[in-house]
Amino acid sequence: MDASKTLVDYLPFLLMGIPVTLEVTVLSMALALPVALLLALGRSAPHAWLRWPAGFVIELFRGSSSLVQLFWAFYVLPFFGIDLPALVAGVLVLGLNEGSYLSEVFRAGFASVPDGQREASLTLGFSPWYRFFRVTLPQALPVMIPPFGNALIVMLKFSSLVSLVTIRDLSFRANLIATSLGESAAVFGVVMVIYYALALMLSALARQLEAAVDARVGRPSKGFRLSARVNVPQWAIGAKS
């Protein structure tokens, strides 16, 4: 690349990383949700041969470093004849990893549905399928949406790791530009602002989803925040009351 160029010249190239970052984020999240659901169901299944593998997958992905998992999928699997494209490897690891964490959210969500609901739908003779999709899941959903919103932001940040396995996302492009410009600080500063803007966008989206779900089940929305003030009585922090 040309040394006389400035950051502005590279901006279009950098911005093309946004769709890639969002693509990885959305695809990984789309994988994480069903994975989490299956793991949660497997974990609470009556059969040990279902419970055990689910527990194994959860512990495996939660227990080791996500970057090691990513490198393993990218560098080690080809040795065993499994040559995944970088994007597939990235989405697979991100989705399975986050899915393992989110399985806990599903479990908590299902646990929050009162026992009477299950008993009532059993008494009414609903099929297991109907019981799950029309009784349990809709009632568990409002409890699960805020953690899902959080997970979306986590996934956005998490997606930056795929730059290390040659996927041309925001971070990857920032690295390329930084190397050719020698103006690393500015480049990464700009990228950080872009990531933050995306995070704000996603959290606004999550908040809307939360409000929509809460409105449907008639719960007052509590809102979704990246940070908040500490609420303690004013006199407790030495303020004059």
């Binding site: 956005l156 940040k157 030495g238």
Partner: protein
């Protein structure tokens, strides 16, 4: 050397380098956690002041740190610190990066812990006329600690696994050692698997130990 499958003698030969990296990994975790806990506490205290602009600034900082990837934050620190004339080793930069990144979530943990103390406790302490200092040290903080400590423990474990990101800023921790061996010998199976196994064993055992500690605490 057999090209496919697992080679034990090669695996053993990678161990010294991996363990050298492991030492740095543990050191980075401990120092990073200490920094995160201290900085997180400072952030929480600043957020509690009645000084609105200060609260606003701290909130913006926490939100920004939580809304951007650790990887990019590490890059920024790695390239910006030298520009400001602060020439430190990559390791110190990494520890600072980890500490700052985790201080934001630690501050949220402290906040949740403090807010989780039942309002009746505040009212009772107020009614009894306890001095503010005593309310904090004798009533609120001990109760907040009970909910905060396990979460902090989990954060240390999370940080332990995320120290692998320091490999991207040339810190020769465990993952960097593993990929280094891999690229020299063009054999990634053993070093990466061993590194993964080490991460797994340590964090699995600590997570189980933490849970046991937690249960013991509740029973006590």
């Amino acid at each position: 050397m057999n090209a496919i499958g697992w080679n034990w003698s090669f695996a053993l030969s990678t161990l010294p380098a991996l363990l050298a990296g492991f030492r740095l990994t543990v050191l980075a975790t401990l120092l990073g956690s200490a920094l995160a806990f201290a900085l997180g506490l400072a952030l929480t205290l600043l957020r509690m002041t009645r000084h609105a602009p200060l609260t606003l600034i701290v909130n913006a900082f926490v939100s920004f740190v939580r809304g951007t990837p650790l990887l990019v934050q590490l890059y920024v620190l790695f390239y910006v610190l030298p520009k400001w004339g602060v020439s430190t080793s990559a390791f110190v930069t990494g520890v600072v990066g980890l500490g700052v990144y985790y201080s934001a979530s630690t501050s949220e943990v402290y906040r949740a812990g403090i807010e989780g103390v039942a309002p009746g406790q505040w009212e009772a302490a107020l009614t009894l006329g306890l001095p503010i200092r005593r309310v904090w040290s004798g009533v609120i903080l001990p109760q907040a600690m009970r909910t905060v400590l396990p979460v902090l423990g989990n954060q240390v474990i999370a940080m332990f696994k995320e120290t692998s990101l320091l490999s991207t800023i040339t810190v020769m921790e465990m993952l960097a050692q593993a990929t280094n061996i891999g690229s020299i010998q063009y054999r990634y199976v053993e070093p990466l698997t061993l590194a993964g196994a080490l991460y797994f064993v340590i964090s699995y055992v600590s997570a189980k130990g933490l849970r046991r500690l937690e249960v013991g605490h509740v029973n006590a």
